[in-house]
């Protein structure tokens, strides 16, 4: 079969991410928010190589756990989780978080005033542009030629790799 995969809506809004985390049991008292990325700490108290803007310290997760973090990127917040903690905070948890995020994002948009709506629309356009740029860059590295087309605000990127035989 040919693949059909819908990815979760990227989490670009910090407030909605914090609401979503609160829904899953990580309220404000358990979550640190930093303007710049800070180091994550491992289960032995060691400083990890990874940095994040939104951090849940290991004390709130479990004795053998490492810090959990979300790093801010142009294409949304990205979860940083250790292999050990993936058992609890793996794809299923991330999907659940993504669904809660999408819910809060919808609520936020419904409540938003006109000016705020324009700001959100602008954010969305910037996100699609960032996604587009990221795909172009990676596709090139992976040896694909990219054919791009647009229909309204939708962007389609066809990644083509020539094969023989």
């Amino acid at each position: 079969m040919s693949a059909y995969i819908t990815l979760l809506t990227p989490m670009t809004d910090r407030a909605c991410l914090l609401h979503a985390l609160a829904d899953l049991g990580f309220g404000p008292e358990k979550v640190e928010v930093h303007e710049g990325p800070i180091s994550l700490v491992g289960y032995q108290g060691d400083q990890r190589a990874q940095h994040a803007h939104v951090v849940i310290r290991r004390q709130h997760i479990g004795g053998a756990s490492n810090d959990l973090g979300f790093v801010e990127t142009k294409t949304g917040y990205q979860l940083i989780v250790s292999d050990y903690d993936q058992r609890r905070f793996g794809d299923t948890w991330l999907r659940e978080l993504g669904e809660r995020y999408a819910h809060h994002r919808r609520v936020q948009e419904e409540r938003a005033a006109e000016e705020e709506r324009r700001r959100i629309a602008e954010q969305r356009r910037a996100l699609v542009e960032a996604q587009r740029n990221a795909i172009h860059e990676r596709a090139k590295k992976l040896g694909y030629r990219v054919e791009e087309s647009r229909e309204g605000e939708k962007v389609r990127l066809v990644l083509v790799k020539r094969v023989y035989g």
């Binding site: 040919s2 693949a3 059909y4 995969i5 990221a134 939708k154 790799k161």
Partner: protein, 202 residues
Amino acid sequence: MIVNVAARVAKSAANGPGERFVLWVQGCPLACPGCWNPDTWDFSPRHRMTVDELEAEIAAVSDIEGVTFSGGEPFAQAVALAELARRVRRRDLSVLVFTGYEMDELRSPAARALLAETDVLVSGRFRLGERDLLLPLRGSRNQRIHFLTERYRESDVAAEVKMEVHLEPDGRAVLTGFPDGRPDEVVMMMLVPSFAARSRST
């Protein structure tokens, strides 16, 4: 007649020759390990659409040369899809079908009816052990492409492997076609520069 639909894309260039309307059906009894679309295995109703509705939707798309049935398992809904295929071919559109069955398993009257309306069939289970990322329109080496009519020949599908990303205005990304690796990982790698950090941490 009702089709249990998993998803559809109005225009894709990565699911067969030219631009095509692609219909992924819901429900597959084969459940091949490593399948790209395990969420399409369950036979519970997902989006129930009539053949009339699907025909109208396809007819409204301009500049396509054909329709592709994927899934899920199209031959699990062969009666309705044979009717849909018959109607779209009357509109001079071609029909390409992906199936997990081997050709010699498709002997029932319903299966024969769908085969009779199919221009290109890609057949065979997806076998993880025979996975090959450089095969056009296939995921594993055991799978076969059958040209059932004169409409296409091997050179129409042979030279390129394609995957396709659709970026929706709300930031949703849909990946289709034949990904160079696990599809969710491929898209994550492409969209998120820090993705690799996720599995390096211990």
